[in-house]
């Protein structure tokens, strides 16, 4: 109170004429916002605890509840926004670094929304995906450019290891620990049913999920948690995580309170000890060190699995990607600055990195200029929100997209951005058993499958409209894109023309 007081951000509005005192809101709120008062026969709300996750709103059977933005604001100031001021208050009170979750919410330009997709008219036919085959299968991995023949003149058809996906989307890295067992199970089951991959993140692979290995990308991050021979061998591909779009240059920290039971066992660290992923890999201080790690992992997996190197999109990304391509990596994953996180320092999340659209365009161009684009596949993530984002990314030059926030939304996430509290009411970013059980993987996997099938349909519709019936003919096909409201420089970087040109 007093000088520390910040008026709650949200208001819980209850229509008492509708409230039947079923107390679902009370039972379902892990933040204890709602409380039934027997004497008053009223459900009372303490909005100071509300994070606006909409669990109560979603479960209220009579629609008696809504959560709205509080209008108790400070005096309007175009320079000093309420958020700016409140953050100063918080830091003046605590002396600490501000923490946030999920992706950068600031109003930076979203280039996907300034790019439009082409369609066929008259001069060539659009293709009806309901009548004609429409192919979305992709192979990720090093292809090389030169074909070899044996002494009899026959083709030598051996390719380096490839990751086969039924559609150009994967669920990106989210560790067991940052998200729940049931969230992982949902992702793993959905990926398997869909013929795509999910990613363990740096939390290791729970023993129950080894059976989903053919659809699993196992991650090796700076903390090396849960990494051992069986783990590497279990996955379809191995990913070296250098950085994350939400917090480039920053490591991770899962507090010891979350390192319990299965999580401790899966991460292979003692219960209660903090899981600290260092900012850099302490065996990678330059590009030649990366090459050593890439080949160590290839040796460990007998050159049977593609190695992915994941980096955050930062200013010099084109050169970095070129270096990675030459390090022996089979796939480069680039994470844009709007990518999500379970917890990151707010300042870093909101101010470091570059948009994935620009990073992708410049990396694809750079690799082509150097003639090595066919030596690596490109996977991009960091706020791919819809099938049209996927189509635009592929046309800009990506081989596939990583999605995480969209996947979490399918699992019930309402983007309240308080993952770091561990009290996720939707059973996703929590390890509390009574919250974890709120995500039934039967539902979770079904919703993920629905989402991906819906996107696949939309991708096919968009492709058909362009007269393209195979996703590889879309890859890098920038003529299919036009910019709107972009300046010359942006168009140049994106390698696209302005609409009307």
């Amino acid at each position: 109170m007093g000088i520390n007081y910040i008026y709650p951000e949200f208001e819980v509005v209850r229509n008492d004429a509708r409230c039947i005192r079923c107390r679902v809101c009370e039972r379902q709120c892990s933040n204890q916002v709602h409380q039934y008062d027997k004497d008053l026969d009223l459900v009372i709300s303490d909005e100071s605890k509300c994070v606006n996750c909409k669990r109560c709103v979603s479960l209220c059977p009579t629609r008696a509840l809504k959560v709205v933005k509080s209008d108790c604001l400070l005096r309007e100031n175009a320079n000093w926004s309420n958020d700016n001021i409140n953050e100063v208050y918080k830091q003046a009170g605590s002396g600490g670094v501000l923490l946030s979750s999920m992706g950068n919410p600031k109003p930076f330009p979203v280039y996907w929304d300034k790019i439009l997709i082409n369609a066929s008219q008259v001069t060539n036919p659009s293709i009806d995906p309901l009548r004609e085959p429409m192919e979305t299968k992709v192979f990720l991995g090093k292809k090389g450019s030169d074909i070899k023949h044996d002494e009899n003149g026959n083709l030598i058809t051996k390719l380096p290891p490839q990751l086969e996906l039924s559609m150009p989307i994967m669920f990106s890295a989210m560790s067991y620990g940052s998200i729940s067992y049931n969230a992982h199970e949902s992702l793993a089951r959905a990926a398997t049913a869909l013929g795509i991959c999910y990613n363990t993140g740096e939390g290791g692979l729970h023993e129950d999920f080894y059976c989903y290995g053919p659809n699993t990308v196992v991650q090796v991050a700076s903390g090396r948690f849960g990494v051992f021979k069986d783990y590497l061998e279990a996955g379809a591909a191995v990913e070296i995580k250098i950085g994350q779009g939400a917090k480039p240059g920053i490591g991770g920290h899962l507090p010891g309170t979350k390192i319990v039971g299965d999580i401790s066992r899966t991460r292979m660290i003692p219960e209660g000890s903090d899981a600290i992923s260092p900012a850099p890999h302490h065996d990678i201080y330059s590009i030649e060190d990366l090459r050593q790690l890439v080949f160590s992992l290839k040796e460990a997996t007998e050159y049977k699995k593609p190695v992915i190197v994941k980096v955050a999109a930062v200013h010099n990304i084109a050169a970095i990607a070129s270096g990675i391509a030459r390090s022996g990596a089979d796939i480069i994953a680039i994470d844009g600055y709007r990518g999500g996180t379970g917890a990151a320092p707010t300042r870093i999340r909101d101010n470091v990195g570059i948009p994935i659209e620009l990073a992708l365009a410049s990396v694809d161009k750079r690799l082509r200029d150097e003639g090595i684009r066919n030596d690596v596949s490109l996977v991009v993530g960091g706020s791919i929100r819809s099938s049209s984002d996927v189509v635009k990314a592929i046309a800009l030059g990506a081989d596939a997209c990583y999605i995480a926030t969209a996947a979490l939304l399918a699992l019930g996430c309402h983007l309240c951005r308080t993952c770091h509290t561990g009290l996720c009411n939707w059973g996703i970013a929590t390890q509390k058993p009574e919250l974890v059980k709120r995500l039934n993987p039967d539902i979770g996997s079904e919703r993920l499958i629905n989402l991906m099938n819906a996107w696949r349909h939309e991708i096919k519709e968009l492709m058909g409209g362009m007269g393209i019936n195979s996703i590889e003919a879309l890859r890098g096909n920038r003529l299919m894109l036009r910019g709107v409201g972009l300046n010359e420089k942006e168009l140049e970087i994106l390698g696209i023309s302005h609409a009307g040109e």
Partner: protein
């Protein structure tokens, strides 16, 4: 036959099934009107124990139902689908069925006769409202 099955692994103890049941059997079209200021008498009941165990119980629609065999008025019977149904005109409220049901799935209604889950075949829901309203698919309606 299709029955209601409960998987306590996914039951959240939210009690929504009870309210959905009471609403479905209220004959009202608005839940607030049906249940506001009413002590509900659901035909499904959530049990709660320590260790976050919660689960719902309703009539199992046994294949060899002892409630029917014990009914002194002939009010209980199985319909052609196997649903154990109650004829409220015949029931005199003797509660012998309550005395014999090993699941505690039969209870007294507000009129002194008994009520039990009839899989919503007699109300406007048409299929079990507890199942439709369960937010975590802990209650499912299927053939096993």
């Amino acid at each position: 036959m299709k029955r209601v099955f409960v998987n306590e692994k996914w039951c959240l103890g939210c009690h929504l099934c009870e309210y959905n049941c009471a609403f479905a059997n209220s004959g009202e079209t608005n839940m607030a009107k049906a249940l506001k200021n009413v002590k509900i008498r659901p035909r499904i009941r959530v049990e709660e124990g320590g260790d976050a165990i919660t689960f719902a119980v309703s009539c199992r629609h046994c294949s060899d139902p002892i409630c029917i065999k014990s009914c002194i008025s002939g009010a209980l019977s199985r319909d052609e689908t196997g649903t154990v149904c109650i004829d409220h005109d015949k029931c005199v409220g003797c509660r012998t069925c309550i005395l014999v049901c090993p699941y505690g799935a039969i209870s007294e209604d507000e009129n002194g006769v008994i009520q039990k889950c009839e899989l919503c075949v007699k109300n406007a829901a048409g299929s079990p409202a507890c199942v439709a309203g369960c937010p975590n698919r802990a209650i499912i309606f299927e053939e096993r």
